[in-house]
Symmetry: C2
Subunit: 142 residues, 2 copies
DNA sequence: TTCAGTGCAAAGCGTTTGCATTGAA
DNA sequence: TTCAATGCAAACGCTTTGCACTGAA
């Protein structure tokens, strides 16, 4: 879990990148900074519209792309079609997706990462990035 | 690498499932049985058209869906938009994708699988399925 | 004042689907 | 003969883009 990022931090980064801090962007940044989950564009759009009804879905997508290129957020293509976003900055981790609720739990395994490197090396490859997603269901308490 | 599957095997399974062995299906089954790689629908379509120019892309998709539902093939959503297919039956494995060529290398790690189960269990979950994809580049021979 | 950013509608892309026709059994 | 399967074109779901307008700097 990335520690909550202040939207001021985002604004600061954007300003430094020479980007204008417009009203729609303020709204989206605020949503992202308050977000603990992994929302998709439509979800972000819905939350944004409640704050400012004039915001468009295109702007959400454009802003996400901007933030992604700045390395401020990560985009994930979990199963289900839509891309889902999360704030960057919490260090590398993988995901366990609850197939009943869509909830995402982050985890990290140094051991698995080491094994991945080992496997890639033995196949003559160098890993550039990877994707490890566990799709599961809450274990019934017995 | 799944050992080459004879298209006769596919035909047999399809017949038992009560579906008609049409000309387009024969063509697609032949392509799949001769395939060593992980082609996408368009790739299969292109190969099919060379054998029978009247085949349509819809039929490729419909046939892939049919085979998938029968458990005869697996569909993978690697990076890059298009779904890619492979024959089922080679036992579970994960994938290393060459980011320069798109080539796919299959691998399996009992250790990684065990660690995944352990992690899921410790988070109170039961894994239904997972996705482990390594995206890499051939190591420069030195 | 200027031009980056916006909303809107349209396009793009991979995939699916409705429908009239065809061909396997 | 019958109805499952096909080809075609249109629709779909998510995402991107062209364009004229707007508002941050």
């Amino acid at each position: 879990m990335a520690e909550a990022v202040q939207n001021k931090d985002y604004e600061e980064r954007l300003r430094r990148a020479g980007v204008r801090i417009t009203r729609p962007r303020q709204v989206i940044l605020r949503i992202l900074s308050e977000t603990e989950d992994h929302p998709d564009a439509m979800e972000i759009f819905n939350r944004a519209v409640e704050i400012d009804p004039s915001i468009s879905l295109s702007t959400v997508y454009r802003t996400m792309k901007l933030l992604e290129e700045m390395g401020a957020i990560h985009r994930h293509a979990f199963e289900g079609g839509r891309s889902r976003f999360e704030q960057a900055g919490g260090g590398h981790h993988d995901h366990l997706i609850d197939i009943d609720t869509g909830d995402v739990i982050e985890f990290h395994s140094r051991k698995i990462e080491a094994l991945q490197d080992e496997i890639a090396r033995s196949l003559g490859y160098e890993i550039v990035h990877h994707r490890l997603e566990l799709y599961g269901r809450k274990r019934r308490r017995r």
